[in-house]
């Protein structure tokens, strides 16, 4: 029970030091706002607060992502003793605004010029589980995570529950893989737990490769301890003593915060040897990706952790039986692990009460493209696309919404007439797309669907690892066909050939990359076939043919070295 008292004490001290201040100023220091100099905003605010003699009354701190990245840098001010909904949020804050903000803090007023509307559907309609601490706590301080009930789930698991009970709780929650596949998490855990052998591994897949998706990055940057706690609970449940986090090399800030978090957790004793004073050991290491999309596929990821080229291998055997260095390995996505602590703390039944019949809980989506409120949201499963795009996302700034692309290069485009569909794994698959990891790219009328399909095919073509023929050769041919059609040089038989190739590549590729590469083409053909056929006969075209194109637009984006 020592760790229990320790955590309680830390939470208490943290709470006391927090209540010493009458005001809390939170500045978003996640990657989105950082690139608009939110770090300078924070520094200047600190100086200004000190200059006004407020350093004892007002705490300035850096926090994780608040979600509304389009309006960044974001700053929120809460006054202690008031309800949380009374917090004032400021947008587009620049270092030059700091003196004005500090004066407003002294006078207990608000700066109307920068203030966001008090009631915004963007915030009101969300249900936060994974992101509950994002934008609230300082991601670089373990104390704040603990004050927000952090590591309670792990403590309960290792001190009061058997591994089987932990797994039962996950099964009860109905949690499914948030990387996009939607495989029941509990089932995966059971499979790994059943394997014999003293050495097993837990891997966290943080190789968020889909272009237009930044959910995992935000979670890692805003609340890294949550992911570590989820991994440790998983380790305890399946009998693994070692964990790896495979992070994209493109996310240096996430890596830095994770490293710091691991150090803090080891020092406190909630990770490392003798977790929480029990006999359970769990060490976490970081492995850096080096820019290969295919490494998001689990067997390719394992190869990469082993220091090899990220080429996938046929399954079965699945990693659950034969994974890292041939040992049983549990691989889950960042968001999946981030759900686990809350499930352990509040119970599987609580989690299962959220969402739809088959898809439980919440899902984090990254809204981008032609949309007012670009940013990160978390909504219960079963919310309709219309609510997500128009109520929360604020709709398309100028123009009509034409379609939404979900699931990245493995997904598809859903046209506006299907926006009343409730979002879950099954419904999106029926529409020819997938849930994917959660990127949603909203497209307005100006977007050419053939161009979108071509863009994703170019992506798959350059990202294909080259191991199996259908994917290596098929994607190149599909790209050439799409390119030809887009340039108005396509013939009807090209379209027939394209469809045939889609079929072949989907059915015969080795891994998910190839199997799903035709999806963007198939879904745009399904809903926007006329855009293809219009381009096939330019003389009969109705203006849908693209304007004069520039030379660079016709080349693949990726450099071929």
């Amino acid at each position: 029970m020592m760790m229990h008292d320790r955590l309680e004490e830390m939470a208490l001290i943290e709470e006391q030091s927090r209540t010493q201040f009458t005001q809390q100023v939170r500045v978003c220091v996640a990657a989105g706002c950082l690139s608009s100099q939110s770090d300078v905003v924070k520094e200047t605010l600190e100086k200004e607060v000190a200059r006004n003699g407020l350093e004892r009354a007002c705490q300035v701190k850096g926090v994780g992502c608040m979600g509304l990245c389009a309006e960044g840098p974001l700053v929120s001010v809460t006054t202690n003793g008031e309800a949380k909904s009374r917090q004032v949020m400021y947008r587009h804050v620049t270092p030059a605004d700091a003196p004005e903000l500090a004066e407003a803090l002294v006078a207990k007023k608000t700066v109307k010029r920068l203030q966001m509307p008090e009631k915004m559907p963007f915030f009101d309609r969300q249900v936060k589980i994974v992101l509950e601490n994002s934008g609230e706590i300082d991601p670089e301080r373990i104390e704040e995570y603990i004050a927000a009930e952090g590591y309670q789930g792990l403590l309960t698991a290792v001190t009061e529950m058997t591994p089987t009970e932990v797994i039962d709780e996950i099964v009860r929650s109905g949690l499914r893989g948030r990387g996009g596949g939607g495989y029941p998490t509990g089932l995966k855990w059971i499979t790994v737990a059943k394997m014999d052998g003293p050495v097993k591994y837990v891997i966290c897949n943080a190789d968020e490769g889909d272009p237009g998706a930044f959910m995992d990055r935000s979670v890692l940057e805003s609340d890294p301890h949550r992911v570590l706690e989820g991994m440790a609970i998983a380790g305890y449940a399946v009998g693994a003593t070692e964990g790896y986090i495979y992070v994209r090399g493109e996310y240096p800030l996430a890596v830095e915060r994770l490293k710091l978090a691991i150090r803090q957790a080891n020092r406190l004793g909630v990770l490392g040897s003798k977790v929480c004073g029990t006999t359970f050991d769990f060490n976490v290491q970081i492995r850096l990706g080096a820019g290969a999309f295919v490494c998001g596929e689990e067997t390719a990821l394992i190869a990469s952790v082993e220091g090899k080229r990220g080429a996938p291998r046929p399954r079965p055997p699945y990693p659950a039986e034969y994974g890292l260095w041939g040992k049983p390995t549990l691989i889950n996505n960042v968001e999946t692990f981030a759900n686990v602590p809350a499930i352990l703390r509040k119970g599987g039944a609580w989690y299962a009460a959220i969402g739809t019949e088959k898809s439980k809980g919440t899902k984090v989506f990254a809204l981008a493209g032609s949309i007012q409120n670009t940013g990160l949201i978390e909504v219960p499963m079963g919310m309709t696309l219309r609510e997500i795009i128009f109520d929360i996302g604020g709709g398309v700034p100028d123009g009509q919404c034409k379609a939404v692309q979900t699931g990245g290069p493995s997904g598809g485009c859903i046209p506006a007439e299907f926006f009343d569909t409730a979002v879950d794994y099954e419904s999106l698959r029926e529409l020819g797309s997938i849930m994917g990891s959660g990127g949603m790219i909203i497209m307005d009328e100006s977007a050419s669907m053939v161009d979108v399909a071509r863009y994703f095919m170019e992506f798959c073509m350059t990202e294909s690892c080259g191991k199996c023929v259908p994917c290596r050769v098929g994607t190149v041919h599909m790209y050439n066909l799409l390119d030809r059609i887009y340039k108005g040089q396509g013939r009807p038989r090209d379209l027939a050939m394209l469809e045939e190739l889609c079929e072949v590549v989907r059915e015969t590729s080795l891994c998910g990359l190839g199997q799903t590469a035709p999806n963007p083409v198939l879904s745009t053909l399904r809903y926007f076939r006329h855009e293809y056929t219009d381009l096939l006969a330019p003389e009969a075209g109705n203006g849908a043919a693209p304007a004069a194109k520039s030379p660079a637009a016709e080349r693949p984006l990726e450099a071929k070295s």
């Binding site: 493109e250 820019g291 952790v305 082993e306 220091g307 984006l557």
Partner: protein, 169 residues
């Protein structure tokens, strides 16, 4: 056991090799530390040349062919020295929809470089990245490590012009 104690000598006296050695030591000179080590080499030297690949291969006892395979497989590794300044353009979906192709055209028109190339005077390297995850600011590019969002052709030219002016002064 004999092999384990035999240490490969760094290609030169350059102190940066110590950083590389430290990375390998931290990973117990295990073969699976290959990618980590290559990351460190690239961070320290800017790119991977034949000498460094051979040295890493010998130190970790990995076939040179595998080291070469790994360093060409992953996009982040480069075998060519970069220019003085680098501009990394994000090619994610959001950036593409919000006008990346026009930016690339402007780059080519102004500097004659395509993605992956360096200008003849070795001043500027144009690189691409698969989504930097800052889709809220699309289109995004990274100028020498500084992220700049909501790019337009004018803004891009202004940023690149700064380097030129600075160098002239």
């Amino acid at each position: 056991m004999l092999l384990k104690t035999q240490k490969a000598e760094p290609p030169s006296e350059d102190k940066r090799w110590r950083i590389v050695q430290a990375t390998m030591r931290r990973n117990g000179f295990e073969r699976h530390a290959l990618i980590e080590t290559l990351h460190t080499v690239q961070e320290s030297f800017g790119f991977l040349d034949e000498e460094s690949l051979s040295y890493v291969a010998a130190s970790l006892r990995v076939p040179l062919s595998q080291v070469y395979g790994v360093s060409t497989f992953y996009h982040l590794f480069t075998l060519k020295p970069a220019g003085e300044h680098s501009c990394v353009m994000c090619t994610g979906t959001a950036c593409y929809i919000k006008g990346l192709p026009n930016l690339l055209v402007a780059m080519e028109a102004a500097y004659g470089v395509l993605p992956g190339e360096t200008t003849a005077d070795n001043k500027l390297s144009l690189l691409t990245a698969r989504c930097l995850g800052s889709c809220g600011l699309a289109p995004v590019a990274v100028f020498d490590g500084e992220v700049v969002g909501k790019l337009t052709v004018e803004k891009l030219q202004e940023r690149l012009g700064r380097w030129n002016n600075h160098d002239d002064a």
